[in-house]
Amino acid sequence: MRRLQVLLCSGSACQSAGALELKKALVEAIAELGLTEEVQLVETGCMGPCELGPIVLVYPEGAYYVRVKPEDAREIAEEHFLKGRPVRRLLWAGPAPEPRTIPFFARQRKVVLANCGQIDPERIEEYIAVGGYEALAKVLTQMTPEAVIAEVTRAGLRGRGGAGFPTGKKWQAVREAPGRPKYVVCNGDEGDPGAFMDRAVLEGDPHSVLEGMAIAAYAVGAEKGYIYVRAEYPLAVKRLEVAIAQARKLGLLGPRIFDTDFSFDVELRMGAGAFVCGEETALIASIEGKRGEPRPRPPYPATSGLFGKPTLINNVETFANIRHIILQGADWFSQMGTATSKGTKVFALAGQVRNTGLVEVPMGITLRELIFDIGGGVPEGRKFKAVQIGGPSGGCLPESLLDVPIDYESLKQYGAIMGSGGVIVLDDSSCMVNVAKFFLEFTADESCGKCVPCRVGLRIMLGILERIVRGEGNEGDLSRLEELGKLIQTTSLCGLGQTAPNPVLSTLRYFRDEYLAHIRDKACPAGVCPDLIHYEVQPDLCRACDLCRRACPTGAAQGIPRHPPYRIVQELCIRCGACLEACPFGAVVKLPGRKG
């Protein structure tokens, strides 16, 4: 008799925090106590709150253990599994809470992530037990391809990769395109820094993606599919390999699925480190074994894609939504969200926010709800400054826009984008000019070099920003940045260049004062840019302990032991901050503005 079910999160984040050692320790402890028959240990995909990992969830109580170390395994096994007394000190939020009563979960609506953290992703039986492949069966036995497309269209699902193109419309275009064979491609090249929802779905519920692809293939008339996953995600690759093999074995992929005339198989393709491959035409080139360079559209992949044939490309999260739409209906799906953005969206919360990790919410909730109610706000003693949404293609929004609803149109209107759903929260310790420069460095690096506006334009913008953070900017720079940014947006070949100026343009729009402080006052208000700050010793706090002098690599910190105050000679200072770190009394302070 299995008395207890112990779910152990083994998503990448939890594995990186030591989930595998913990598993070993739990298995040993359970065996030593003779509980192997009573306790079922299941390795699951990502449960969401990554910074609390490794996470262990024990049913039937729903006890939610966080930051569990291998040393804790014995105590949990003995106290909880054997004696029935949950180990309070390791529980999230006090005595044995139900996960859904924790604020982090209470506001979420899990559709795409419903199975993540609940089933073992390496056992197809568990997926089937929670209704897996039922949607495919329904589609193949009860629906025409046209009816499937009509349902997806009516649901109002839009592409979750970032651009938000209506999914049903895309399917229709591929169905109507002349030429055979047709292909279905899943874009799992999740490259946006700060976004990791596709990884969680591929690692935690890979079959939901395969099922979505199979349904799409039936709808558009394809027999072959490809999943393209970036090589930086080895665990996702491994779990997909397992999932594909298991589905083939049960006849859920391959010839004559469910004894119908429909045949479909999926091949896994791995990237090799190139951000631009997330762009659909670049991704197609990469699957074909070429350099992953984008090409002009039209023709769109729907008419001429992989190997020149009609090709449907959707993102991982988009495919993972399909089975729910088929089983629960378009009406159920479209009642979630706003007028133009339906359903839920998975966001990856990261940065200076208390609860980081993956959250899934209905479209249309506000940024404030997402960051403060679910994310718990910025850590103690810090002040919220901006939220960077949509990755390097997105924008930075200030506090005054926190009540903007999260949907494709609203975000775009304010200069950000939904993008893949990466949300990085920045507090007052971040310099917005530096943040913008950082994102631009990324896109300038990742530009494939094929078109001039992106290759050359981004470099010029970056050069201007580098001058500004060195204190060598002039006021004409700001209008030059804006002019260039708009030019690059309108003339670049693909989405990379078309969106790369967004972080700069949005910070110029909402944090112009900070740029001006760098230019006019030669000061970095956040104290980040090393050329635009200086250090000073506050005389009344200095105890002349000599630690700053010993730490200083250039002899700028000077003084005589036991004879306060010490001082920093600005001409010698290289602003490395060693004195500030060394001072035990808080006497050394970092101030905006250049001295010396």
Binding site: S16, G271, G273, E446
Partner: protein
């Protein structure tokens, strides 16, 4: 060696679109984690592609190397979120511990230090990957501990 590689190639259909997978495999088969001129020629011959086309692809992707690398490849994420959480101190720690710069290989041929874009484990930043294994919540002591473990394994 050549015989081994020929056998390895036979797993792949002679179709140009498998090029990346084939290159990954050839690179993995080399203890020094890189593609030799011989590898490129073998790939070109097997797939019936001009050598220039193979080189064209190899030089585009950051994960392929034309120079020998260490047995273990350390990839530190330097994406914005890890950057905010101190990825540079991790890089500094590794540089000091191994005595190499980014892009270099230790003299014993054990480690190569590289930077990578987002590894998708932003919730536990800063993050690095050693070969296929991801490590998060990195602090200087933990970095040393991890590297010592790989050193011990040889």
């Amino acid at each position: 060696m050549t015989v081994d590689k020929k056998g390895l190639l036979e797993k792949f259909p002679r179709s140009p679109d498998v090029l990346l997978a084939l290159l990954h495999e050839l690179q993995r088969a080399n203890p020094q984690n890189y593609l030799t001129p011989e590898d490129l020629a073998l790939a070109a011959e097997h797939l019936g592609l001009p050598l220039s086309r193979v080189r064209d692809a190899v030089t585009f992707y950051t994960m392929f190397s034309l120079r020998p690398r260490g047995k273990h490849i350390i990839r530190v994420c330097d994406s914005p979120n890890c950057h905010l959480f101190g990825a540079w101190s991790v890089v500094e720690e590794i540089k000091e511990f191994l005595g190499i710069e980014v892009g270099e290989t230790t003299p014993d041929g054990l480690f190569t230090l590289e930077l990578t874009s987002c590894l998708g484990a932003c919730g536990v930043a800063p993050v690095m990957m050693v070969d296929d294994e991801v490590f998060g919540n990195l602090r200087p002591e933990r970095v040393r501990e991890i590297l010592r473990r790989f050193k011990g394994e040889g």
